[in-house]
């Protein structure tokens, strides 16, 4: 929110979707209650958004509840962030062709992604996207598949007013308010929405909408809700820079403790909006003349991840959990200049046995450093 915020009355909210369409975004995604969670799905009218829906999240559990009220964003997050939109769970990256004479040729399987607007992106999701951009776009080999999809996105962020019990973005510094990474920012009040621009594209869109400035009391109401959303978060990480603390405790007894509980299922890495690991594979066509080369999300919780033919580097769950946590909260600092955790809480909620990254980090740091 800033001093240039404008106000979109609730009854006119669909105008935002129409303006996005008018700006060339044929595909507009918004949160829709589906499969027991909230997923980004194509939306045409504001009424399709999850009005009156609340989420109840706890370690190992996620439930939606229908309540009274007209708010569409009075919940925290669903199982997915933006990750599947830019880093696809499974995609063909190139195709190989073999001619009858045995010649090989290769072609990129890049498609031109549709211009896509996403409405209702959370602050933690934007922070996670920024991290994925650092990984896929700003390294030595910018990823063409990721970049094209990213460039096709227009992001309408929404500040959180109702974080879940599992959220800890205030502790990581990534939320709950929309402050960066958005084209358009949004905050919800009972009577409607405050909107503000984050980019030139966002400013152009606001001009199209031609709305009145938000009032001082509306701005104060948003500030109050944001403050409330910050202070209600009860989970924290024990600091923002845990690299040293974790590196000094690689032999801690607690790794075995969490290793006992962890199922090594990889759910945490699948829902984590910053995890980038994937494997590559080939799928030859039956005619023998073409083969598709794919990449697919994978996880450091799988044996395949560290398979070396004659041995597996991380042969047990203790070592895999230690890899995940020391990477996420430790070596990410060295690789990308910050922690790999944006405090979205998804790995806590979607863990079948309710392992809580914040609790594990606290328990580990309470142990004495390795001798």
């Amino acid at each position: 929110m800033d001093e240039h915020s404008v106000f979109l009355p609730r009854a006119e909210a669909t105008r935002l979707l129409q303006a996005l369409k008018g700006a060339g975004f044929d595909r507009i995604l918004g949160p829709v209650a589906r499969e027991g969670t909230l997923l980004f799905q194509p939306v045409k009218r504001w009424e399709e958004l999850p009005m009156g829906i609340r989420d109840v999240q706890q370690p190992g559990s996620y439930r939606l509840q229908q309540q009274e009220g007209s708010r569409c964003f009075a919940w925290a997050n669903g199982a997915q962030a933006l990750k599947p939109l830019t880093f696809t769970p499974r995609e063909i990256i190139w195709r190989a062709q073999r001619s009858v004479e045995g010649h090989l040729s290769f072609e990129s399987a890049q498609e031109s992604p549709e211009p896509t607007a996403v409405v209702g992106v959370r602050a933690c999701d934007l922070a996670a996207l920024d991290l994925q951009e650092r990984h896929f776009m700003h390294g030595r080999f910018p990823d063409p598949w990721f970049r094209k999809r990213r460039e096709a996105l227009f992001l309408v962020g929404v500040s959180c007013s109702h974080p879940a019990d599992t959220c800890f973005c205030a502790s990581t510094g990534d939320g709950p308010a929309i402050t960066r990474g958005h084209d358009l920012g949004m905050a919800e009040l009972d009577e409607g929405y405050l909107l503000w621009a984050g980019t030139q594209a966002g400013r152009t869109l606001l001009e199209r909408l031609d709305l009145d400035e938000a009032t001082a009391s509306q701005r104060r109401a948003v500030e109050k809700e944001t403050h409330q959303a910050t202070v209600t978060q009860s989970r924290t990480l024990p600091g923002r820079h845990l690299k040293q603390g974790l590196y000094e405790r690689l032999q801690a007894g607690h790794w075995a403790d969490v290793g006992e509980r962890c199922l090594s299922c990889g759910n945490c890495t699948a829902v984590c909006p910053t995890c980038f690991c994937h494997m590559e594979m080939d799928e030859p066509a039956l005619n023998g003349g073409t083969s598709e080369h794919l990449r697919q999300w994978s996880s450091c919780f799988n044996a395949e991840h560290s398979f070396m033919g004659h041995f597996v580097v991380r042969s047990d769950t203790r070592l895999r959990y230690r890899q995940w946590l020391t990477h996420k909260l430790g070596s990410w600092h060295e690789q990308y200049g910050r922690s790999g955790c944006v405090g979205c809480g998804r790995c806590i909620t979607w863990c079948p046995v309710g392992i809580d990254i914040t609790a594990e980090a606290h328990a580990l740091l309470q142990e004495a450093p390795d001798a």
Binding site: E280, P284, G309
Partner: protein, 278 residues
């Protein structure tokens, strides 16, 4: 030069040698003349080789980068892709992208003595460095080459070692865990060779490649002989899917082996390889 990011190029096998029962060497020529002319590698780097319909594997480059000729790879057939590559013959094609990674410290080694310690097929990546140095013999001091294998039958490039040995100030020491009737060299692991090795304490650079337990056993012996830890370099292997720092499989602590390595200065990687599970 085209950045070798996304797509393999077509390469053709121009010669093939079966070195042992499961090790073979191939020479590869990039089919596109433009790519062939601009392709440049550096000793210690690797290519991703693609077997049609099956997949890609990282394989070190054996040939001297200044050789205008074809690229050379020596491969042990161990699994899906490498067994398939083993069946290819002269004239067959495969996909190749690269070169990737940071190779050996040729600059740091210039004007110094060099100890090369390798085990098993670990010798493949150091061979290009040895060839590179021997072509520029005057640029380097004493060159000591230690190579260990599990079984005497696993030794490849026997003739080449014998030729290298004849060069001035080059010492070659070979060992096999299990000897045999045709084995005139030492029996035992590569570290037993270190007692006989000429390792001048001053101005010596050591490069190591092979199984990690072998490297971890050799390093303390180098340190005992007063080799500066900053002059010890290792080539590390991890599972690799992409080779370009994206897939995450090759991470060792904060390092991406595919890009930050595979060759590391010992102090930069020591903390990680000494620990189980990284």
């Amino acid at each position: 030069m085209r950045e070798p990011t996304d797509l393999p190029w077509e390469a053709r096998i121009t010669s093939r040698v079966q070195e042992t029962r499961d090790i073979f060497s191939v020479k590869l020529e990039l089919v596109d003349p433009g790519i062939r002319e601009t392709y440049r590698s550096y000793p210690g780097q690797y290519n991703m080789l693609y077997l049609f319909g099956v997949g890609e594997v990282p394989i070190s480059i054996v040939s001297d980068p200044d050789d205008a000729g074809p690229l050379e790879h020596t491969i042990r057939a161990v699994g899906r892709v490498t067994h398939g590559l083993e069946r290819l013959r002269v004239g067959d094609t495969l996909g190749l992208r690269g070169p990737y990674g940071r190779g050996w410290p040729l600059q740091a080694a210039q004007g110094r003595n060099v100890v090369v310690i390798s085990g098993g097929l670990g010798c493949a990546p150091v061979v290009s460095m040895i060839r590179y140095m021997l072509r520029r013999r005057d640029d380097y001091g004493q060159i000591t080459i230690l190579q260990g294998v599990k079984h005497s039958n696993d030794l490849i490039w026997r003739r080449q070692y014998q030729e290298w040995e004849k060069i001035r100030d080059v010492q070659v020491l070979l060992a096999s865990d299990q000897g045999g009737p045709q084995w005139p060299f030492s029996v035992g692991n590569v570290t037993v060779l270190m007692e006989k090795a000429i390792i001048p304490p001053e101005d010596t650079v050591a490069v190591l490649c092979g199984p990690e337990p072998m490297m971890k056993a050799a390093i303390p012996r180098l340190l005992e002989r007063d080799v500066d830890p900053f002059h010890i370099w290792l080539s590390i292997e991890r599972n690799m899917q992409c080779g370009i720092g994206h897939c995450g499989h090759c991470q060792v602590g904060p390092h991406f082996i595919c890009q930050d390595g595979p060759v590391f200065r010992y102090p930069d990687i020591a903390d990680w390889i000494d620990r189980e599970g990284f």
